[in-house]
């Protein structure tokens, strides 16, 4: 147990150090979701949308999209480690295989939480979007992000292991991301979607993450709704972590 802690901290610190040396990528990682989705997309569609305050509505979607992007790229470092041979070095050390996974979860969720807070801050400063549930709601939004992110990171790491070559990995990620966004309630409420899209959106965990965040921002403390949505996300986590661990065990031995 003490060892797992030492390993996990060491591996997490490695990611932190890397990030601190890739400042440009850090800055753009933080700015991208709010600039693109919140400011450009939000303002553009504010007028045409039939939703009274579209930007407040969109904020929940942007939070979930950020989690989606970070989560799905959570396996990228692992992929590069695999290709550079660094992973071989890590795996030949007497470490628990779980430490590798924990450290990714901690690091990616830490970054994602920072991004979420930035988005909410900018949404507040520029557009006056303030969660009805207050500051405690902020913490709960982070919890939703965590629940959604966990499963995504597991999927991403699994793909990083299973797919040959980072070119294929990025192609698949690029292919997955936009459909997952459009087939969710991130940009439009499900009831406004064409029937078949709304139908598919029900099976997209993203929809539940968006609804949960949106409910906290626009609806305040609607406990039954929030808990129901969190339970659905939890099922998503359990399923994807279970599936990933099977792939991992086969690959890592």
């Amino acid at each position: 147990m003490k060892w797992i802690l030492q390993e996990t901290i060491a591996l997490t610190m490695r990611s932190v150090r890397r990030l601190s040396r890739e400042r440009i990528s850090m800055v753009f990682g933080l700015i991208q979701p709010m600039l693109f989705w919140l400011i450009l997309f939000g303002n553009l569609f504010q007028k045409t949308a039939q939703i009274p305050n579209y930007i407040s509505f969109l904020t929940g979607g942007v939070v979930a999209m950020t989690v989606l992007n970070s989560g799905l790229s959570g396996g990228v470092d692992l992929l590069f480690d695999k290709e550079s041979g660094f992973l071989e070095r890590l795996l030949s050390a007497p470490i628990s295989r779980n430490s590798l996974i924990y450290s990714r979860f901690i690091f990616v969720m830490g970054i994602t939480s920072a991004q979420i807070l930035m988005i909410l801050l900018v949404a507040y400063i520029l557009f006056g979007v303030y969660p009805l549930s207050g500051l405690a709601g902020l913490a709960f939004i982070l919890v939703v992000g965590l629940f959604f992110g966990l499963g995504l990171i597991a999927i991403s790491m699994t793909l990083a292991f299973a797919i040959k070559g980072h070119g294929n990995f990025f192609a698949l990620m690029g292919f997955l991301t936009l459909p997952l966004i459009f087939l969710s309630s991130a940009l439009v409420p499900v009831q406004y979607m064409p029937g078949w899209m709304g139908f598919l959106a029900q099976f997209n965990p993203m929809t539940y993450a968006v609804d949960a965040v949106r409910s906290i921002i626009l609806g305040g403390w609607l406990w039954t709704d929030i808990l129901k949505l969190l339970a659905i996300l939890l099922v998503f986590d359990v399923v994807s972590i279970w599936a990933s661990s099977r792939v991992f065990l086969r690959q890592l031995g």
């Binding site: 060892w3 030492q6 390993e7 901290i9 060491a10 591996l11 610190m13 490695r14 150090r17 890397r18 040396r21 890739e22 550079s84 041979g85 660094f86 071989e88 070095r89 890590l90 795996l91 030949s92 050390a93 007497p94 470490i95 031995g253």
Partner: protein, 359 residues
């Protein structure tokens, strides 16, 4: 094709891991497990590995003794890396058994990892970390305490001459420096056995010699080293014993000297003038008269005798004298000692670099 060469498996006489010596500094020396008798650092028994029904390693059996530098030699695709990865617990044997320091790789992977230090083939370093940060990471992965880690890192940096550059980003390191850092990482856990996969692949001459020097120094401190290489000179210079692998099979095993001697000794090729037609007769008398002659091959067409002598230059003078006494004027004479290249060709039937396009 022959298999193991029993005559060649003479134990080395280099100062490898003597029990009486206190192995200080860079290696634990393995004194604690059985202080008085040499133990097997690695035992491989009937190891077989197949990938998707393709056999890449067939019935490999060999031992690496404590304190020796053991080399696995072979072209790309010979099965060296598969063997290494199995020893490192990164691959499971399809059949057979592998033990490292007495621990089975399948049932006790954690114990095996704990006693091994690994230096991968690629320069597996993270360019966004400094040298010291790398070593600190590795120290944590092997569960070293803070003070212990600091001391170890200092020692290892000194050994590979990286103290000055320790706090620079790896991005700014040259290829040779990256390799040195790689080796330093492998040494951090104070391993019983250091595993080096192609340690000098793609390095310049100076760095290669430097790395050979480290390996020798570590051996003096008692460390057991298993390395793969496809440089024959490297195996010849560094290794106490070598195993030659070809297409997944062990084709020869022994000391470099033993393997070379096993070819039948040094070769003297003597060229006579075209008027000489009594070469067979000459060969017969030389065989009778000279005890150090192992074998003589006569090539009447080119008027040549190829004579294998016990590997000693002292054979040359008596040989020439004997030929002189038989009144055979010599046109040219060539003396050569067998190289590992000859050994390799003899056992595998081809040159080592033939199918390794990357070199």
């Amino acid at each position: 094709m022959q298999t193991h060469k029993p005559s060649a498996s003479k134990a080395s006489d280099r100062p490898a891991g003597r029990e009486g010596e206190a192995p200080s500094g860079y290696a634990g020396g393995g004194g604690d497990a059985s202080p008085y008798k040499r133990m097997k650092a690695i035992e491989i028994r009937h190891l077989k590995k197949t990938f998707n029904e393709k056999t890449v390693l067939e019935n490999l059996t060999l031992d690496v003794e404590e304190g020796e530098v053991f080399g696995m030699l072979g072209p790309n695709g010979a099965g060296k890396t598969t063997t290494i990865r199995t020893i490192l617990t990164l691959l499971k044997p399809s059949e057979g058994q592998v033990k490292v320091w007495g621990h089975d790789v399948e049932t006790q992977p954690r114990e095996v990892r704990q006693v091994l230090g690994y230096v991968p083939q690629e320069k597996a370093v993270d360019r966004f970390l400094t040298g010291r940060e790398h070593l600190t990471l590795v120290a944590d992965l092997y569960h070293l305490g803070k003070t212990e880690a600091r001391k170890r890192i200092r020692e290892v940096l000194e050994l590979v001459d990286l103290t000055q550059k320790a706090d620079d980003l790896v991005n700014s390191y040259s290829g040779g420096m990256k390799k040195k850092l790689d080796i330093a990482c492998g040494l951090i856990p104070d391993p019983k056995v250091l595993v080096l996969d192609e340690p000098t692949l793609g390095l310049d001459v100076e760095s290669r010699i430097r790395i050979w020097e480290y390996i020798r120094r570590l051996q003096h401190a008692g460390l057991t080293t298993l390395m793969t290489t496809n440089y024959l000179d490297e195996a010849d210079q560094l290794c106490d014993r070598i195993a030659i692998l070809d297409r997944g099979r062990l084709v020869a095993l022994g000391t470099p000297e033993g393997l070379k001697k096993g070819l039948g000794g040094d070769r003297v090729t003597i060229q006579f003038g075209p008027q000489q037609d009594r070469l067979e007769e000459l060969a017969g008398s030389l065989r009778k008269e000279l005890p150090f002659v192992n074998e003589i091959k006569v090539s009447p067409a080119s008027h040549e005798l190829e004579i294998r002598v016990t590997s000693n230059e002292e054979a040359l003078a008596p040989l020439i004298q004997a030929i002189h006494q038989h009144r055979h004027p010599i046109l040219a004479i060539q003396y050569s000692r067998p190289t590992l290249e000859d050994v390799f060709i003899t056992y595998t039937g081809h040159k080592i670099k033939e199918d390794s396009a990357l070199l």
